[in-house]
């Protein structure tokens, strides 16, 4: 009989990924619903002491494999270890982060186990009648949502994007067990050789690729004020763009121009600051998922396409917003 909710606790360089803790939070909720326990799978080299953190964030038990074969992520050793653990523990549900690791590992494991896997879930819940895991996810480029079940195969597996679930508050009083699993590796498992590891370097800015854009128009006024937008963009992890008026005035580079004679962007967030919203500009950004506009003039046309419009002075609002965001990151 399959039992318990397991979470693949992803780590890099000995540091647990935020998504691992978020998934434990969700696993806790699902386990409590089913009256079962939460397990965490921790693979790496010299990572045993991280088990405690996992327990403090909701795990009842942590299965550790500490081995030189697992020092850097590689498909086969990790798949072999996870497969061995899942075959032994027979869980009901397994959750992975939908990261560049999770999306490489989970499908391979699911194929080795001959079970179902659902990717990028935004919602996970237990069905009241069938007790099956209901996995809801976007499809068709995000245009529709689908709810999926894995009825006849176990474990039911899902990957979840970082930032979707919520981690539990750390509870240092929580107790749990730590078990070291015995996985037999052999040299042939290392079927890929890592020659070099390159840590990330910043690439050239292309606003059409940015997820979040903070854009300024004539209302940003004198050139120096674009620094306020730059600070906000940095806080969000996004890029700065501008309307044609700002580019023509020499305040911003042509590569940042959004609109009829500039670029067309479709980011997840477009903050239009001091932009009136003439159709030549709107043509370049109306497909953004979330449009927030700040403008002193309540009749500005930008407000008719903004999801959230705020009538106010961007010179006051933007720095305060940046501060609030930075503060929330530190928590």
């Amino acid at each position: 009989m399959s039992k318990d909710i397991y979470v693949f606790a992803e780590q890099r360089d000995g540091k647990l990924s935020k998504v691992s803790l978020e998934l434990l939070g969700k696993a806790r909720e699902l386990a409590d619903n089913l009256g079962q326990e939460v397990g965490a799978i921790l693979l790496g080299l010299g990572i045993k002491e991280k088990a405690k953190t996992l327990i403090e964030h909701g795990a009842d038990k942590v299965i550790v494999v500490d081995d030189p074969m697992l020092s850097e992520y590689m498909t086969e050793p990790f798949t072999k270890a996870v497969h061995a653990i899942l075959t032994d523990k027979q869980p009901e549900i397994v959750l992975y982060g939908a990261t560049s690791i999770g999306r490489d590992l989970a499908p391979r494991v699911s194929a080795r186990l001959h079970t179902g896997l659902t990717a990028d879930c935004t919602k996970l819940e237990i069905d009241d009648d069938s007790k099956l895991l209901l996995m809801t996810r976007p499809a068709f480029g995000g245009n529709i949502m689908a709810t999926i079940v894995c009825q006849d195969f176990r474990p039911q597996m899902a990957t979840v994007r970082p930032g979707v679930m919520t981690a539990l508050e750390r509870d240092s009083s929580r107790n749990g067990s730590v078990e070291e699993a015995d996985v037999e590796f052999d040299a042939s498992d290392m079927n890929i050789k890592i020659r070099e590891i390159l840590k990330s370097t910043k690439k050239a800015v292309d606003i059409t690729e940015a997820r979040y854009i903070v854009s300024g128009g004539r209302g940003v006024g004198v050139s120096g004020k674009f620094n306020l937008l730059r600070d906000l963009a940095d806080a969000l992890g996004g890029e700065v763009a501008a309307s044609r008026a700002c580019v023509d005035s020499g305040w911003m580079d042509k590569g940042c121009q959004v609109g009829q004679t500039g670029k067309t962007v479709r980011p997840e967030l477009y903050m239009a600051c001091g932009i009136s919203g003439a159709i030549q500009h709107v043509a370049g950004m109306e497909e953004a998922e979330l449009i927030i506009a700040i403008n002193k003039n309540e009749a500005a046309p930008i407000f008719s396409i903004a999801d959230l419009g705020v009538v106010g002075d961007l010179n006051n609002i933007i720095p305060k917003l940046t501060e609030a965001i930075n503060k929330s990151k530190d928590q």
Binding site: A139, N143, C150, G163, K193, I292, V310
Partner: protein, 264 residues
Amino acid sequence: MKIVVCAKQVPDTTEVRLDPKTNTLIREGVPSIINPDDKAGIEAALQLKETVPGCMVTVVCMGPPQADVALREALAMGCDDAILITDRAFGGSDTWATSSIIASALKKMDFDLIITGRQAIDGDTAQVGPQIAEHLGIPQVSYAEKIELEDDKLVVWRQFEDRCHIVEVAMPCLVTALAELAEPRFMSVGGIVDAYNTKEVKIWSYEDVKDTLDAANMGLKGSPTKVIKSFTKEAKGAGTLLKDLTDDEAVAAIMTKLQEKHII
């Protein structure tokens, strides 16, 4: 050297719109395209073909009969052969069943390198590539942003969020391509003429793969996962306009919105 590229024909989901009156997807008039990650894979294969004498590139697609035009496009870009794996019995396949079917076809071919796209823009799962590799028992390198051939080994720049692994892998192996792996060439006019006149798209049905495919693994019946419900997201309602707020109230309102949308 033999390269097989797995490609999928998908609706251009960036062109799909929601009908505001019925809240359903408007699918008609949406062009069908070769999935962008797969197209990058085709380009990478063609670039390797240009540097390796005698290298052949076969493109394989599992889909309905109308996927023929996607294969013609791949042939027009320069691929040597094309195979369309199509059968009513394959309908409703999830990623397990799809990867099983495609793997069964690949088992009937010689290959040194299989390239798939990282993910399709309609399914968005990124699962089929790695699952095919598992069915075939070969190593996989996913999220490839660059590949190079070095003697008989493949060197791949494997992308992670915060780093890149430069790895070396022996062939046969499978690589999943990111769109940035290669900027796809256009078809050429002469290439399109060849695609329709001198090259052909072979059609394989269940009959052609039944010796390598367990029938229990295909179609809706063979899929461990099933969709029980699909629905459109809430239509984007009219926006909210907030006036007469203090600066702090304005910041709070924006923060709430950003949190709601998981941006912070």
